[in-house]
């Protein structure tokens, strides 16, 4: 007579995902770091020692101070100042805002566009599918950086233009990913059932098909945010991204380029660290998510 086993707690897919995700300390670390960074970016206007855009408080005599030195206004510049006398720490905080807004924003919009097109391609099939996939192939075969450079060359600088350029360059990944999983899901019985019930197409697409295509989309989305942030930084560094009035981390790094050879490394170094930490944190999360959601690695 076997003993009655205790009823295990209900394990929803979400809970399993969370527990598997947390199995990697690196991934959890990445998540924590990212949350901190996001908070810093959101709260920057309140927690930054100085408003780097406010020309009134800047004193050029404070320029190029070393980290840890105290400026003319009595603020301790923990990370030094740049050539205009802006506090690096504040600059970084505000720069994070721009970097994150552009990165996350463009990824989000690209996801919307790409996922919709991918779903459409998979569901409609035939000519629509061919056309969309040709566009995707064309987009993906062209090197990202060049495409972005060309688009910005014709559109000009500005945050909005950068977002547009990033969206144009990124949507194809989402489209391809979603189409791939949608094609697989489409054949499943629950979609057949939904079609038998004569549910409106829009409902089938967004309420039934999409949720099941989410796992790879989440992975791709996470990695793409990191890529978008890095790409924006690169474009800004090359002088084709955000304008000088609203510097992102990339532009801050560019500003410090010329001072590196004379030993004033902090103007480029610290924004770079901030950028680095952000991207690595996101990639660590994405990497673990990919391992967790990968059906082929499931035992």
């Amino acid at each position: 007579m076997s003993a009655t086993a205790a009823v295990p707690p209900v394990e929803t897919p979400f809970r399993r995902f969370v527990s598997e995700f947390c199995a990697s300390p690196l991934a959890v670390g990445g998540l924590v770091v990212f949350v901190i960074i996001a908070l810093v970016a959101i709260l920057a206007p309140w927690i930054a020692p100085q408003n780097p855009y406010d020309l009134a408080v800047l004193d050029i005599m404070d320029g190029r101070l070393e980290p840890g030195s105290v400026g003319g206004s009595g603020i301790t510049h923990w990370l030094g100042t740049d050539d205009q006398g802006r506090d690096m720490l504040s600059g970084i905080m505000y720069g994070l805002r721009i970097s994150l807004v552009v990165g996350v924003g463009s990824a989000f919009i690209a996801c919307l566009v790409g996922a919709s097109l991918g779903l459409l391609a998979a569901y409609a099939g035939g000519r629509t599918d061919s056309v969309i996939m040709r566009l995707v192939d064309l987009q993906l075969s062209f090197p990202t950086i060049l495409a972005a450079l060309m688009i910005l060359a014709f559109l000009g600088k500005g945050i909005f233009n950068v977002v547009i350029a990033l969206v144009i360059v990124e949507w194809a990944y989402y489209a391809r990913t979603v189409r791939g999983s949608a094609l697989v899901e489409r054949r499943r019985e629950y979609i057949e059932a939904a079609m038998c019930l004569a549910l409106p197409t829009r409902r089938i697409l967004f309420n039934h098909l999409l949720p099941n295509c989410l796992p790879p989309l989440i992975v791709v989305g996470t990695m793409q945010i990191a890529r978008a942030i890095a790409l924006e930084a690169t474009l800004s560094f090359l002088g084709l991204g955000v304008p000088i009035t609203e510097p992102s981390l990339g532009l801050l790094i560019a500003n410090g380029y010329e001072y590196m050879l004379s030993g004033k490394y902090w103007i480029s170094f610290y924004p770079g660290i901030a950028l680095l930490v952000t991207i690595v944190a996101i990639n660590l999360m994405g990497d673990q998510m990919r391992d967790v959601l990968n059906p082929r690695l499931k035992k």
């Binding site: 060049l146 990191a226 690169t234 084709l240 380029y257 030993g263 480029s268 770079g272 680095l276």
Partner: protein
């Protein structure tokens, strides 16, 4: 095999035409064509003369044909800044970029392959986990920032290597190459490392995944059942199988690397095509932009074709299908 080649060539031809249309539309139709082709400092009379000379008063499709006609003859316009044929400017700088791209490709294989092999064979060891964590860093770190750090550490602080520019060159086939001189090598090292970082991570991850997958295959177990030494099992049976996808990806990435060298060349002031294009974009030297785009597309097509052919050489299964 010949039929396969022919098919691929026609495909490539179509892509080239498609891209030329895109570029043409981008430059000639969107935006003010006058602005694009004529220096903004010209006055009204010069503008009108230029418009007629450049055929801008013709309908669009005729302009396209003129464009194609000139392109086939190798004339892709004259640079505003240098007043030389754009194509010449690009060809002059191509060796520098190619050096960098091939150098980084070489580094990525020499460093990435052994590391990835090790990580695949001993996936649970501490060193393997370190390698994998390092690879995440490798593709996360923005290339331009790594370049800056490399300059800071090796050039400024340690003073071991020069920070910018290309070193002395020596002629080979009438083209100046810098890797043939010692000074040239010292100049190329940092930029090549910088450019290769992303690909090293890619190769590590690819190789490791390939090794892990291949080790589970029956033919590996059978090789062990035959009593072969572990060395032979790894370096002949496993290695030959993973080489194929790795080589393919690295080859395909070559095009992307050439394109991405714009960043490294900017950081290290390396006088290649990439730096030219950035400078051209900043001063709106559009004929050069057009010429560069077309060259890149052409290079991509050639590289893709070469990789396809290489693939059939490496994988015997594909080789015979291609013959059929």
């Amino acid at each position: 095999m010949a039929l396969y080649l022919l098919r691929r060539l026609t495909q490539s031809g179509f892509v080239l035409v498609a891209m030329s249309l895109l570029v043409f539309l981008g430059v000639y139709a969107i935006g003010d064509p006058i602005e694009i082709l004529i220096s903004p400092d010209a006055d009204q009379i010069e503008k009108e003369r230029a418009i007629r000379a450049l055929g801008l008063d013709l309908p669009l499709w005729q302009q396209y044909l003129v464009f194609v006609g000139k392109a086939l003859q190798g004339d892709l316009g004259r640079s505003f800044v240098f007043n030389e044929p754009a194509i010449q400017l690009i060809l002059q700088r191509m060796p520098a970029t190619l050096e960098l791209a091939f150098g980084s490709m070489l580094l990525s294989i020499l460093i990435g392959l052994p590391l990835g092999l090790y990580a695949g064979l001993r996936p649970n060891g501490a060193l393997s986990k370190g390698i994998m964590a390092g690879s995440i860093l490798g593709f996360s770190l923005p290339t331009f920032w790594v370049g800056l750090m490399l300059i800071m550490v090796f050039a400024v602080q340690l003073g071991w290597l020069p920070s910018t520019g290309r070193g002395d060159t020596a002629l080979l086939f009438g083209i100046p190459w810098s890797f043939l001189t010692r000074d040239g090598l010292s100049h190329i090292l940092l930029p090549a490392i910088n450019l290769s970082l992303f690909k090293i991570s890619l190769v590590i991850r690819l190789t490791r995944a390939g090794v892990r997958e291949t080790m589970l295959m029956d033919y590996v177990k059978f090789a062990r059942a035959k009593g072969l030494s572990p060395f032979r099992v790894t370096f002949v049976h496993v290695f030959k199988n993973i080489m194929i996808p790795v080589v393919t990806v690295v080859g395909l990435e070559l095009g992307g690397t050439i394109a991405f060298s714009v960043v490294t060349e900017s950081v290290f002031a390396w006088p290649g095509m990439g730096k030219l294009i950035i400078d051209s974009i900043n001063v709106l030297d559009r004929p050069v932009i057009v010429a560069y785009l077309m060259m890149i597309v052409l290079m991509f097509i050639i590289i893709n074709l070469a990789v396809d052919i290489l693939y059939t050489v490496l994988d015997p299964r594909v080789r015979l299908e291609a013959k059929a």
